[in-house]
């Protein structure tokens, strides 16, 4: 491919998370040609970073990696990672995307994924793929089952010492790599741009991120994951195996003053799942979930919740008002108990916040699809055409149109692929 080149395809999928992958596969299996663009270094989205998934407790990798691999090897799918979507316009049965692929400083065609560069690199940087709990290197394969298995260099942490370039067996390291612009012309587009989480910073009630051993749910996923930072659950402040762990639900959701007024939809279930996994990993630990309502609404979810209760996980109804540092690395959780004891403080070794869910991408300035008041992409026929956006030929799937769990995202991704297929056919292509 050359700079400035134009690629044509039937469908462009924006975002290579689980929804985007499913949409792409469902289109490609009908022999439509698909291009996926992904902003990250690897496809797989949030799901590939998770430990296990509710309500089946399948390991997340077991479900995600095969879909990633099928998409990567599908004859009708082409994937571009590490891309920025600069502009997306639609007009009479066609869409046009201007895309910039950011430099990895490693030639993707030459890199064989041997990780020699990573081992030789002298710079340790906090590993974002491990919740920052351990380090990776300035040049690295992003994570063990990333696709593509291509190294990338973070120029912000690089000393230009030249070690990686010297050791690379295929001469793939290229310190001078430049961003690369190209255009995609497609008949239709599916936006599957997913979600991100609100941050602890800016929530003084919860310690603004300054209280040790208060972690986010995504960090807890890493602590529980098979190739996590410690390969077990430890308290990050000192490596202690925690005896008491608490989950704080709606830490940012269902409360305008704390961030967002809407329900983030899947936090109840992942908190219950994490609690169950913890009670398996640490059978002697006390585990509590502070909640307002337990929203276990999907197929098999309520049964999952009842199983967690039967396992001895403590469910405490009450909104947590304050989280503060306590002695010896403990975390004090203050809440209003509803058993009549009033405001109560409990100390825990580790506290997990179920933060709010936000859209990961805003079309503002890039694409003229409308967003709703909640900033997620608006759907114009929410009941009978939940994947239709305000622009004809542009469809939406997954958490891009509001928080959604994996099961619902996959179902919606299939639906978006169906609408997109019919749109392609209606254009006579």
């Amino acid at each position: 491919m050359t700079d400035g080149q134009t690629i044509t395809c039937d469908a462009l999928v924006v975002g290579g998370g689980i929804a985007g992958l499913q949409s792409a596969l469902d289109l490609a299996d009908q022999d439509f040609s698909v291009v996926i663009i992904e902003k990250d270094l690897s496809i797989g989205g949030k799901m590939i970073r998770l430990s296990k998934v509710f309500p089946t407790l399948d390991c997340s990798s077991c479900i995600t990696t095969p879909k990633m691999a099928s998409a990567a090897h599908h004859k009708n799918i082409t994937i571009y990672t590490w891309c920025d979507l600069k502009e997306l316009t639609s007009n009479k049965g066609s869409v046009r995307a201007r895309v910039t692929q950011k430099p990895r400083y490693v030639d993707q065609d030459k890199c064989i994924g041997c990780r020699k560069c990573e081992y030789s690199c002298p710079v340790y940087v906090p590993d974002p793929e491990q919740g920052g709990f351990c380090a990776t290197k300035a040049i690295r394969i992003p994570f063990s089952n990333a696709i593509p298995q291509t190294a990338a260099l973070d120029p912000e942490s690089c000393m230009l010492c030249g070690k990686c370039e010297k050791i690379c067996p295929t001469g793939a390291v290229d310190y001078f790599q430049k961003p690369f612009d190209f255009t995609i012309e497609a008949t239709t587009t599916i936006l599957s741009t997913g979600f991100e989480m609100t941050t602890i910073e800016g929530k003084p009630q919860y310690g603004d991120g300054k209280v040790p051993n208060v972690v986010t749910a995504l960090q807890m996923e890493r602590l529980l994951a098979p190739h996590g930072p410690y390969n077990r659950v430890l308290r990050p402040s000192d490596g202690m195996e925690p005896d008491s762990i608490a989950f704080v639900q709606c830490a940012g959701s269902r409360d305008k003053s704390m961030g967002i007024p809407y329900c983030s939809r899947f936090c109840c279930m992942y908190a219950i799942k994490q609690a169950m996994l913890l009670s398996g990993a640490l059978p002697l630990a006390d585990i509590y979930i502070y909640y307002m309502d337990i929203r276990a609404f999907g197929k098999g979810y309520e049964q999952f919740y009842q199983t967690a209760k039967a396992m001895g996980i403590g469910f405490i109804k009450g909104k947590v008002g304050r989280i503060e540092e306590a002695e010896n690395g403990s975390v004090a959780v203050r809440f209003e108990a509803q058993d009549g004891t009033g405001v109560t403080t409990e100390n825990h070794d580790l506290v997990v916040l179920s933060l709010g869910v936000l859209p990961d991408w805003s079309p503002e300035g890039i694409c003229s699809v409308s967003t709703a008041e909640d900033h997620f992409i608006q759907t114009v026929q929410p009941s009978i055409g939940p994947t239709l956006t305000s622009r004809q030929g542009i469809f939406v799937a997954g958490a891009a149109s509001g928080p959604k769990d994996i099961v619902d995202s996959i179902s919606e991704a299939g639906a978006a692929a169906m609408e997109a297929s019919n749109y392609i056919i209606a254009q006579g292509k």
Binding site: C59, S61, P66, S383, D408, A415
Partner: protein, 629 residues
């Protein structure tokens, strides 16, 4: 343990078996000593290499297999990982990418059958045995070709509710011929009984009208109302449905039973039966509304206790002014709504039905639905007091939390109860003219007991699986413990059923709202389109094959055959003249092996699962024990 390498070698067996054992990121390796299994596997006869990976299904894992095949290190592949239902296809396609035949592969399930049920040495021991058996079989595997059959570009949708209408329309737009079969004379299903729907307050009849219009006007869709499937046979891509259409006058469906009638199909006025030849079936058979037992929260005992669908219907017919709701001439000064009626039932707490059954699931839609109804009442009749008795408010979806907020602003009073401490509904005896009183220990005010006199109680009744027992037995469909139809896997194959070519749409699968049912329907449609749009299908070649030289034409196999038409007797020309011989129709063969067991001459065997392969598996399982004797 005796070295199994010393076992007698079979020259026909592959000597280049590759064994690939998965850690499953701890799912397996936490209980099975994977490296020990690998060491053992290396010593099994015919094994060229044994490798491990933390996720064999990941790209780097698959790459191990591909490299070994390409380099000629292996020519048979055994993967020891999770259940083959999850990743058999993943590994087969990896083998295909390496340029090899996908059927030179066998699978050892060491997760579901080992690490999830056994621990410690036992787990490792069993994993070794399963891998041993798989290598035994793999040595005898031969390349096979899939069976290619024509697929009809035709789909049948069963059920004319929201999901069925949506599925039929998008399938027809995709270019397939569609037959939509609906049991009742009406289209719209359960939703036809609704008024405005949560969370946006859209008029449900308008939604149905739009969907139904798209279906009725589409030339590629044939709508058969008052029709039922009474016969089913064939195989994926080529199913035959026997469809019986009854007279509308003989219909047992009462138009007045809470259903509006937005559309009626254009069927002939005589009972007919026809054969529908189709490629795939989408099941959109819907749900039925939970009917409370007599006495459950006063239901049947007090006429002032209504189910949610009954209340919605009565509310939609209200024609009164003023600031207090009036139903059937009765002023409703205060009403209570009770959540989770017939849902979220807990063993030991709730009363089982006559079959010992509980609805343990959440019905997903009732919280939003009842809050929407409460808001409708409060916004029109602000002086009607509403008490909302709930366990958890589950307004999870877009626009739903707003309903909850709005209800609070509308001064709906929320009271919370625990599953084990349900509120009671009884006749009011406090001397006032309220008909009923509701008693609850309110968890929001330190479990204080509260008595509320009311004129009306509405039960937020949930969804139950529709009765599709006839289809279940006809099509051999799997049903979950919640009685809803069961998908293959909630994430890997969420609308697929274990019967190939049969898909799930909407509330036949689980409780869903309209939006979710439409997504489910379109997702089922896209799988149907992928399956049928090429016009042909490839089926696994695990079918019976007859050795014509050995066949003596006894016909025992035909008698034993479980699949109609899969085996037949033909006149074959041999050197002895015309002889009776058995012949297999591969597309119809189930690969069950019933014929193999009865053949007196061993002339019939299963491709990919031959007797010899079974023997080799058993030999390997007992190998060291036998030698030790």
């Amino acid at each position: 343990m005796t070295d199994p390498k010393k076992m007698k070698k079979n020259k026909e067996k592959s000597e280049k078996i590759g064994v690939y054992i998965c850690y499953c990121g701890g799912n397996i390796s936490d209980h099975v000593d994977v490296e020990k299994v690998r060491e053992a596997a290396e010593k099994f006869p015919g094994v060229a290499v044994a490798r491990t990976n933390s996720f064999m299904c990941s790209d780097p894992g698959q790459e191990l297999i591909i490299e070994d095949l390409k380099n000629g290190v292996v020519d048979r592949v055994v993967v020891a990982s999770c259940a083959p239902s999850l990743h058999e296809n993943t590994f087969r396609s990896a083998i295909t990418r390496a340029g090899a035949n996908p059927y030179i592969y066998d699978h050892a399930n060491i997760r579901e059958q080992v690490s999830w049920v056994l621990h410690g040495d036992k787990a490792t021991y069993k994993a070794e045995k399963l891998v041993a058996a798989a290598t035994g079989k793999a040595g005898l595997l031969e390349p096979l070709d899939p069976i290619r059959v024509n697929a009809r570009k035709h789909a049948t949708v069963i059920g004319g509710g929201i999901a069925g209408l949506k599925a039929a329309r998008v399938l027809a737009d995709r270019g397939l011929e569609v037959v939509l079969i609906e049991k009742t004379p009406f289209l719209g299903g359960n939703a036809a009984g609704l008024d405005t729907v949560a969370p946006l307050g859209e008029q449900c009849s308008a939604l149905i009208a739009e969907l139904a219009k798209g279906v009725l006007e589409h030339t590629a869709i044939t709508v058969l109302t008052r029709s039922e499937v009474v016969g089913f046979n064939g195989y994926v891509g080529n199913y035959n449905l026997q469809v019986k259409t009854t007279l509308s006058s003989s219909s047992a469906f009462d138009k007045a039973a809470g259903h509006v009638v937005p559309f009626e199909g254009d069927n002939a006025d005589t009972p007919t039966e026809q054969n529908v030849k189709t490629g795939a079936v989408v099941l959109a058979t819907g749900f039925r509304s939970y009917q409370p037992k007599t006495g459950e929260y006063g239901f049947d005992d007090h006429r002032e206790v209504l189910t949610l669908p009954e209340f919605i219907k009565q509310l939609s017919e209200v024609n009164c002014s003023g600031d207090i709701l009036e139903l059937n001439g009765r002023k409703i000064r205060a009403m209570a709504v009770i959540h989770c009626v017939g849902s979220r039932q807990i063993p030991g707490i709730h009363e089982e039905d006559e079959n010992g059954y509980l609805n343990e699931y959440c019905s997903r839609t009732c919280c939003s639905s009842i809050l929407h109804a409460a808001n409708t009442v409060k916004e029109q009749f602000p002086k009607t007091n509403i008490y909302d008795l709930y366990r958890d408010i589950r307004t999870y979806g877009r626009g739903q939390e707003e309903l909850y907020d709005r209800a609070a602003r509308n001064r709906v009073v929320f009271l919370r109860f625990e599953a084990g401490n349900s509120p009671t509904v009884s006749a009011n005896d406090d001397g006032s003219d309220y008909a009923l009183k509701v008693t609850i220990e309110d968890g929001l005010t330190f479990s204080e007991e509260i008595e509320v006199p009311v004129d009306l109680v509405v039960l937020a009744t949930g969804m139950e699986a529709g009765d599709v027992s006839d289809l279940v037995s006809m099509m051999k469909l799997p049903v979950g413990t919640d009685k809803f139809l069961q998908e293959v896997h909630p994430k890997l194959a969420p609308v697929e059923m274990s019967v190939s070519g049969i898909f799930l749409a909407g509330t036949a699968q689980a409780p869903m709202n309209i939006s979710e049912a439409c997504n489910g329907a379109a997702a089922a449609a896209v799988k149907t389109a992928s399956l049928l749009s090429k016009g042909y299908l490839e089926l696994d070649p695990y079918v019976a094959a007859v050795d014509q030289d050995l066949c003596r034409g006894t016909g025992a196999c035909v008698d034993a055959c479980l699949a109609d038409g899969a085996l037949e007797m033909i006149d074959a020309e041999t050197e002895n003249g015309t002889e009776k011989k058995a012949r297999v129709v591969p597309a119809l063969c189930l690969g069950c092996g019933a014929c193999v067991a009865v053949c007196p001459t061993g002339a019939i065997d299963l491709k990919g699962w031959s007797l010899k392969q079974y023997e080799a598996m058993v030999d390997m399982i007992v190998a060291d024990e036998l030698i030790d004797i």
